[in-house]
């Protein structure tokens, strides 16, 4: 085990993947010599050469299309989109190409080795072009897998599983936690299974569900609720697509209540999908309406970020509303 922050864990995962398999290639804007604007690919060019870790021209649609082509040939491209806010020029390549490669060809071709890595989320005074959480757009696209880690250990295991996955994966990294989140990480190769939620804390009164950087916020809210004698079961969804409805439903059947928290705006956010499925699976077990604590239905603000975000106080209030319903 070694103490790592999330960036180091991601860098370590990429290093191990590149050492293990020559077909793993990392590229994106400023990814080469510089090691990426957040340094997630630091030293990889030095170690594996310019052919396997390189800067691309400044074109996200180019990066995504190039990655599709490489993956179709059988390689395992790990392409970085510098900020999730800048993934949209690549939307066509990802939604219409990456996601449908296998399906449209009747499995003649696929881009299974492909991973898009991209830092997402707020909390860094980034305003609306450096703070967005676009997971729901991609969750609406059959054929993609969408994964979001909450800490260094999760980041490494989930990223290695994403690279090994036979299906293309979008791997959103909570940039607020890049350096802030540290923890013990095994130095060797390990995978964390995609599509499985993680029950982080057992409880009996209410299930509180989130992913990525919001897990820290949920922990704070849960601690507040606990002081009021409320026992919370905390779940990190980890995989947004496919998502682990069984684990969530089992928990809600036990607690009878569900609070979902995400950074992205409320309307059309992934919490809506979870709520719809869980009310169907757990209808007779529910003691109160499923609560959603999300961003407002506005672009991500700058000066009023604190007011906008789905913070621990709003989450605490939702937990208490749920148990006192």
């Amino acid at each position: 085990m070694a103490k790592m922050n999330m960036l180091q864990a991601i860098n370590n995962a990429l290093d191990i993947a590149m050492a293990k398999d020559d077909s793993v290639v990392c590229f994106g804007e400023d990814v080469g010599h510089f090691g990426g604007v957040f340094r997630a690919t630091s030293k990889l060019q030095e170690k594996y050469g310019k052919a396997r870790c390189f800067n691309t021209p400044l074109t996200e649609q180019g990066i995504a299309g190039f990655a599709n082509g490489m993956a179709a040939q059988g390689m395992k491209p790990v392409a970085e989109i510098q900020f999730a806010d800048y993934i949209f020029p690549a939307f066509d390549q990802i939604v219409n190409e990456t996601a449908k490669f296998r399906y449209r060809s009747g499995n003649e071709f696929n881009v299974g080795g492909l991973v898009f890595r991209s830092p997402y989320g707020g909390g860094i005074a980034g305003g609306h072009y450096h703070s967005q959480s676009p997971e729901a757009y991609f969750a609406h696209t059959p054929g993609l897998k969408v994964v979001i880690p909450r800490d260094p250990y999760q980041a490494k295991g989930l990223l290695l599983a994403s690279i090994a996955s036979p299906d293309p994966v979008i791997f959103f990294e909570p940039k607020k936690l890049y350096r802030a989140s540290t923890g013990e990480v095994p130095e060797d190769y390990y995978e964390i299974e995609l599509g499985k939620a993680d029950v982080v804390q057992q409880g009996k009164d209410v299930t509180v569900l989130a992913w990525g950087a919001q897990m820290e916020i949920v922990d704070k809210a849960v601690a507040m609720a606990q002081e009021q004698g409320v026992s919370c079961e905390v779940i990190d969804l980890r995989s947004i697509l496919p998502w682990d409805a069984d684990t969530v439903a089992a928990s809600v059947k036990k607690t009878g209540r569900l609070v979902i928290n995400h950074e992205a705006p409320l309307t059309g956010g992934f919490a809506g999908e979870i709520a719809a499925t869980i009310q169907q699976m757990c209808f007779l077990h529910l003691e109160s309406p499923i609560e959603r604590v999300c961003g407002l239905d506005t672009p991500y603000p700058l000066a009023l970020e604190k007011e906008y975000v789905a913070d621990h106080l709003k989450t605490y209030e939702a937990i208490m509303r749920s148990v006192n319903f």
Binding site: P57, T59, G62, G126, Y129, A303
Partner: protein, 394 residues
């Protein structure tokens, strides 16, 4: 002869490649480093008043950049972007325009913005995202914009303004305004798909737009030689069937001359023109960037010598238009004014909570109004957690 391919057919009978070296793109230089003009160079057509305004604008951005980068380091603002070394590109081009020509910039064009008359207070209000900011404190620092002075509000995603500029200029043409749109972007942004889309649309639909590329050598850490292989950006214009000019971006007289010529041509012929200004991004990409990770101090020092401001200053002195002592005193005074304005702006309140939901739509939709009402209730319950807004709610 016309053909369905809309291309020249010159028949040969032996296979041969055509390569880029068939095209030679000259670089316009008028002003030497020592402040003299090149022999036989186009004579500058600008008067003393314009020349001094151009100089003052460059000096303003230099001093502002210095002060605000320091303010970022002190934690007073969250982010900053300098235009160090590139002042002549945006000031020289803005000076060659009509003041109702539209400006669509990338994010390093504070020179053009200041030339248009954006006030020191307006700069500061945006940088501190306070309630007097025209953008209502919504965007990161340096994302300026002002309808009054025909300066489109900056968007962070790269290259998006390029096809928009084509459309804006096309609309100017349809309305018979006899105005143009200048579209600034870097050589990095020219790799975005929007660049291709925007140039082709402008050429096909004959939009009088000036595409102004600041080729400053770097896109964050990525040097131009890892960005593209062709001969700069100007060669691409020819591929789209539009005229191109390449200028020394540190030579403000050349930039001015080229932009004037491009503007006249664009409006007379209803055609786009591309100008490529060869420059060097002497500062970091932004306050979040540290160039020591990807380029040497020696390289930077070499380019520091081509300083566009001192070159122009020498010329102004030779013209008898500038007194160096008086200029120094003026710069000192400007430093004081900038610091004073900073101190005022940082004390101005943040935008009120109603601006969390305003402008998403022209009128807030009911769901959004409800979200705001709930948020206000929540803030009233926890006023200490939201100090920016809790004391100011109706």
């Amino acid at each position: 002869m016309t053909n369905p391919n809309n291309a020249t057919i010159t028949t040969v009978h032996n296979a041969a490649f055509t390569a880029g070296d068939a095209l030679k793109i000259p670089t316009l230089r008028i002003l030497k480093d020592d402040g003299n003009l090149y022999d036989g160079a186009d004579k500058p057509t600008l008067d003393q008043e314009t020349a001094l305004k151009m100089y003052d604008t460059m000096v303003f951005t230099r001093v502002l950049d210095e002060r605000m980068l320091a303010a970022q380091r002190q934690g007073r603002i969250s982010f900053y972007m300098q235009c160090l070394g590139e002042e002549a590109t945006t000031v020289g081009s803005a000076a060659a325009l009509d003041e109702q020509d539209m400006i669509m910039a990338q994010y390093r064009e504070q020179g053009a913005l200041r030339y248009r008359g954006f006030s020191l207070e307006q700069f500061m209000n945006q940088l501190f995202s306070n309630e007097k900011d025209l953008g209502k404190g919504r965007q990161m620092p340096v994302h300026y914009g002002s309808k009054d002075i025909y300066y489109m509000t900056i968007s962070s995603p790269l290259g998006t303004q390029i096809p928009q500029a084509s459309g804006y200029a096309y609309a100017q043409k349809l309305r018979g305004l006899n105005k143009t749109t200048i579209c600034y972007f870097g050589e990095g942004a020219a790799s975005e798909g929007d660049f291709h889309a925007g140039l082709n649309m402008a050429a096909v639909h004959k939009a009088p737009v000036l595409f102004f590329c600041r080729n400053n050598g770097y896109a964050i850490s990525t040097p131009a030689n890892e960005q593209f292989v062709g001969d700069g950006i100007a060669c691409r214009a020819v591929g789209y069937g539009m005229k191109a000019l390449r200028v020394d971006g540190a030579d403000i007289l050349a930039v001015y001359q080229a932009t004037k010529m491009a503007r006249e041509f664009a409006l007379e012929h209803n055609e786009p023109v591309l100008i490529e200004a060869m420059a060097y991004r002497l500062g970091a990409h932004s306050s979040s960037d540290d160039p020591s990770g990807y380029r040497s101090k020696e390289e930077e020092e070499l380019w520091r010598k081509t300083d566009p401001i001192s070159r122009f200053r020498l010329w102004l002195v030779k013209q008898g238009w500038l007194d160096e002592e008086a200029d120094k005193a003026k710069i000192e005074k400007l430093r004081g004014e900038i610091l004073d304005a900073l101190k005022v702006a940082e004390k101005v309140a943040k935008p009120g909570i109603e601006h969390l939901i305003s402008d998403v739509y022209q009128q807030p939709i009911p769901a959004l109004q409800q979200q705001l009402d709930e948020l206000k209730q929540h803030i009233r319950k926890y006023p200490d957690a939201y100090p920016v807004t809790s004391g100011r709610m109706d």
